[in-house]
Symmetry: D2
């Protein structure tokens, strides 16, 4: 952010001050980073439109119209409560139904594993095709505490995009390292892993069983390679996180209350806990029965 | 309903049995009368479309797709939870923002008071113009426990619609009874009362003050006539009533749980209490300061 | 309009001057009454929304944005041509698909015939129930050239609405005049005539045949009564009428041209002819084979 | 297409026969390639949705519902005329307002010029970074009449996508060839040329003037290099091309007519002429006054 500010000749001073919540008008920080910030309103609307998930529709106009400032802090008028409830449930729905959709999880993990494999090969000294910026992150050693490294790394990072990944994956898809080639082909052909989501921690035995099946099926040389094919992890939902500041409601009588005190439907219990789900992600060929 | 069945030569036997929840497939009764019945889905969708309240949009397709039957009872699959949360918050929003809109409340009360005044005049023997079916309800005495009276009353009731009311109101608008004429003109010219909604019971003194102002302003002969101009009442929200059967969720592991046990956002506290708001409805001309 | 102006103490002077095209800014008249006037944009949008005919959607925002004034006359910028073509085709579609829908035609004709029958009976001195304003038009003789009659007639006309019609029809539905009772019941029960639309004039023989069938089927006393059941008429489309002023386009080079000169799709031939279709409207019970 | 068929073990035989219009059911060919083919309906709908151009909305459901087959040829029922008019005007609007939007034209030309420059440098023997498939087309000589070349070319062509282009452009953006570097940077930074559209052929002098300005401004060594910065060309609209088969309407009386015979709005004149517009595309820095 500071490098950006340099590039723009300090025109971002105010923006950065607000962003870091050091500006004296605190409500501006809430507008860019809070439970009801403008970014959240924007991406919910955009994503529900483009994914065709009509249920994610929110009344951003009305939410914004209900916003006000009291004691240097964002508040919503009391009659905006229902729109905020709609926003919070829309957000939850979009998270669990879209952002945590099995296809999204499997895609992200495939991408991670592909880069992980490339990085591991690079560490072992295997020479891989890579676009210059990707090459930097695979092969160079850098120390982000040193300003000159930081600057170079940022420049390469900015330059990286999906073009670098896909172009490299196209090359890697015919590489002699079977794992790298496998993962590259999967990415290019949208051959995604199966994802299993559960409310409960995955049983250790089940884990072992899948690991062994993968070891055998993919003829892996080492148990350490299982991780490129099999992921066991957690997704969690931050709908209305207790560590952040609450959404405040300006009551008709002038009082200011927290949303959960005045909404009959928003659950205080739900606020203080982060919902976590457990998932397994493994190739569709693996059948366990 | 039974008269209807006669008219249709008992073709409604099954329908009535389901409606009265005497049919052996209990889930059919839940589909026509429950917390998640088809009528609720239908009118929410219709009303949010025609009122232009986009926030009321629900994913009825997905809700229906998630429905299943277990132990002769409607359940929703676990991944349908978010859509049901959306449905419940949409319902709440539509109630407080549309169905309990001040214009709706004022209109309903005006209609009630107009008919109340007409009925009171009829009781006093004043002869009013009225369409035949309206005339029956204003002037006839009937005993609904007597089958022939019930049948006549039902036929007149079915025949009544807004045409009877408006046609009569047009006539009444020039009647010598000032109250009847006043209320009729208000109905015809959409001259609606002011509505004041509050979370708290209205203070007795305030009540008295408004009553006195009305008495004076409209030159009423008796305090009993204040009721035609001034209403002090309660609206309450039945979003998810505790006395009805809960919405049940079929968990991924086969368990069946109540919605409030598994939704992080739906508040158990909110479920067991009916939200009530207090309102005053009085002519806009009345100013109290 | 002039009576209205009196009521409003001449506040409508300017409006009326514009409406009568006597105001010096001629383009204002085009905005309220022209081929591209605001009323047309408004009702097309409204009607396509509420009828659910998505095809009638128009880009009224863009059309308005493209409007400009040249030589005291409305013009559209050249790049607005496509939006205007969309508007004209939407209008055509709405006319033939919605406004001239068989249900609409049959309803209008039923209403006309019912009032025609009531009027004819009134002329014969038959006393019918009627709300006061409807009674005026059925039984009073008035001369609209006499100011006092005109004023009375206007007041009664303004007071007339569907409540008067439906309330009267409810009464008439049990009248001893079989035709009046028949038509009233049809109106109340939405029992509409069949409508047959054709590009060609209806053959005289076919006309005769249907007339005779109706005469017999409804046991009519006179051939003159056939008209209450059977209508043979024309509907015509005024999409872009040649007698009105053309839509003018402001070309990029500053020239002003008529729409049909610069649109490749809007047909000059089509402009100068009014499309007419012939229709028959008769009871569904009448079968001719 | 034949290679694809091989890959799919001749499962595409029927598809190809239909596509080449050699199948005995001729109307199937019209469904995949005609004035009213399914692809056109599909992309209009998709593009108007994603570009937010509501005016492009068409009633594809109704158009399809109105389709029928007569004499082995697609026809639309007469009452589908208005929907087809809507489709044709939507298509025209989308072409001139979206597909021929200045941003689209400038982007396409920039892409063409970048590849043209790369190809020209490759021909001169300059070695450029290129992904393998792009490298093939830049440097290899192939003869598409030779089956083995055709097969290789097709495989490389299939493998090419925007990743190859953007990855190469990122590399080229720092190349010593100033033109290549310029165009690459323009592509990466969305720095698009100005586009000027006109109904008339561009005046020769104007053309010369801009050419000279570019020559000077970009310090070009040769007039031949102007083409990388400056394009003077034609866009044309194929809304309803006269050389293709007409859309046929099945009249209510059983006759089959061409659309332009029965639509009052679709212009025969417009059908037989292809609308052409002239455009200039040159850098925004070039100012001519």
């Amino acid at each position: 952010m500071n490098f950006l500010n340099e590039t723009f000749h300090n025109q971002l001073d105010l923006t950065i001050t607000i962003f870091q919540n050091k500006y004296y008008k605190k409500f501006l920080h809430e507008l860019v980073s809070g439970q009801l910030d403008m970014d959240r309103l924007d991406y919910l609307k955009r994503d529900s439109f483009f994914t065709g998930v009509n249920e994610g529709v929110i009344g951003e106009d009305r939410i914004i119209k209900m916003l006000n400032v009291r004691n240097d802090s964002l508040v919503s008028e009391q009659k905006g409560i229902y729109s905020i409830e709609r926003f919070l449930t829309a957000r939850r729905l979009m998270y669990w139904q879209v952002y945590f959709h099995k296809t999204v999880i499997a895609s992200e993990i495939l991408l991670e594993n592909l880069l992980l494999r490339a990085k591991d090969l690079a560490k072992q000294g295997v020479e891989l095709f890579a676009t210059p910026s990707l090459h930097y992150f695979l092969y160079e050693s850098y120390n982000l505490n040193r300003p000159e490294d930081l600057r170079t790394a940022i420049n390469h990072f900015i330059n990286l995009d999906d073009n670098d990944i896909f172009t490299s994956a196209k090359e890697w898809s015919t590489h002699t390292d079977k794992i790298l080639a496998d993962l590259s082909q999967s990415l290019l052909n949208r051959k995604l892993n199966h994802v299993e989501i559960s409310d409960h921690k995955i049983d250790h035995n089940r884990n072992e069983k899948i690991s062994n099946l993968i070891l055998k099926r993919y003829n892996l040389k080492s148990r350490k390679d299982i991780k490129y094919y099999f992921t066991n992890n957690i997704i969690s939902n931050h709908t209305y996180a207790p560590t952040e500041e609450n959404i405040r409601i300006l009551m008709n009588n002038g009082d200011i209350k927290d949303l959960h005190e005045v909404s009959d439907i928003i659950n205080l219990g739900g606020l203080t806990k982060i919902t976590e789900k457990y998932f397994l992600c493994y190739p569709k060929e693996i059948t366990e029965f």
